[in-house]
C-alpha cells in the first residue's frame, strides 16, 4: 500500500512550539477565546466589549481584545474568557451570527527585526506600507495558505485554521533556517 506517514512531518505540540533564527522569534500563542461574528449587530457588540475599530492587515494592534476584519460584515474577535461568556452560539436576533473558533484557529507570533524580511518571502503583499482601506480583509495569501494577519509593534501575528497550521509551521521552520 502507499504509505506516506514518513513523508509528512508530524505537527508540533502547539503549547511549546518555538522557532528561532533569521532575526526572528516564532511561537504559537493561545488567545483565551476566538469567535467569528457576522451581521449588522456586530459593531455595537464590539463597542460593548471595548473594541472601537476593526483591523485589516495594515493597522497595528498588540493587546486583547481585537477584531480582525474577515469580510465587510464579519470579524474574528479575540478576547478574554470573561468577555466571551457574553457570546452564545448561533443566531441571536437581530443580526448577529456567532460561531466559536477558539480551538479552530492557531495563532503564531513572528517577533523581531527579521519579521518584515520573512513576509517578503511569503507573498507579494507589501503589507504595513500602503494606506489602510476601511473594508479590507485581514486575510491574505501567505506561503500559499489563507492566513489572517495582524500587524504588531514587534512583528506580526498569523491566524491560520488548525488543519493548515502544521503546513504553515513547516514553511516557517524551513525559511527561518535559511540564511539567505
Amino acid at each position: 500500500m502507499f504509505d506516506r506517514t514518513a513523508f509528512w512531518s508530524p505537527a508540533p505540540d502547539w503549547r511549546h512550539a518555538r522557532l528561532e533564527g533569521r532575526g526572528l522569534s516564532i511561537a504559537a500563542v493561545t488567545p483565551p477565546a476566538l469567535w467569528r461574528l457576522s451581521g449588522t449587530a456586530v459593531p455595537s457588540l464590539l463597542a460593548s466589549l471595548g473594541v472601537s475599530r476593526t483591523i485589516g492587515p495594515r493597522e497595528a494592534c498588540d493587546d486583547l481584545p481585537y477584531a480582525l476584519r474577515l469580510s465587510p460584515d464579519s470579524v474574528l474577535l479575540a478576547c478574554s474568557a470573561a468577555a466571551a461568556a457574553r457570546l452564545q452560539r448561533g443566531f441571536t436576533a437581530p443580526g448577529l451570527a456567532q460561531t466559536e473558533l477558539t480551538d479552530g484557529i492557531v495563532c503564531i507570533d513572528l517577533a523581531g527585526p527579521g519579521a518584515a524580511d520573512l513576509m517578503a518571502l511569503a507573498g507579494e503583499q507589501a503589507l504595513g506600507t500602503a494606506a489602510a482601506r476601511p473594508q479590507e480583509s485581514a486575510r491574505v495569501l501567505f506561503a500559499g495558505l489563507t492566513v489572517a494577519v495582524m500587524l504588531r509593534s514587534d512583528g506580526w501575528r498569523l491566524h491560520v485554521e488548525r488543519p493548515w497550521a502544521p503546513a504553515l509551521w513547516r514553511w516557517l521552520a524551513e525559511h527561518v533556517a535559511i540564511t539567505s
Binding site: 474577515l70 465587510p72 507573498g123 507579494e124 473594508q135 479590507e136 480583509s137 491574505v140 489563507t146
Partner: protein, 84 residues
C-alpha cells in the same frame, strides 16, 4: 501575475481569486425553454476586449465580485461586489 482590485480589499494578487464565469447572467425561470436554459448554462460571451467576469476573493474577504477586465490587454477597468 495580474493584480485584481477587490472592491473591499483593494489591489491583491490574482492567486487570491477564483474565476467563476461570466457576470450579468440572470437565472432564467424554471419554465424557460431548453434553448434558453442551455444558453445560460453553457454559452460564454468569450469577449475579445472588455469582459465582465465573476470572481470570488477566496483567500481574502471571500466575497463574490464582478471585474471589468480586458481579455486582451488584461487591463482592469473596475470592480464591484455581486451584492452591493
Amino acid at each position: 501575475m495580474q493584480i485584481f482590485h477587490c472592491p473591499f480589499c483593494g489591489p491583491r494578487p490574482d492567486a487570491e481569486f477564483h474565476y467563476a464565469g461570466d457576470a450579468d447572467k440572470p437565472r432564467p425561470a424554471r419554465d424557460c425553454s431548453d434553448e434558453e436554459w442551455a444558453r445560460y448554462l453553457l454559452m460564454r460571451a468569450n469577449a475579445r476586449g472588455v469582459a465582465r467576469e465573476l470572481w470570488v476573493h477566496r483567500a481574502g474577504c471571500g466575497r463574490w465580485i464582478v471585474l471589468a477586465r480586458d481579455t486582451v490587454s488584461h487591463e482592469i477597468g473596475g470592480s464591484e461586489p455581486l451584492n452591493p
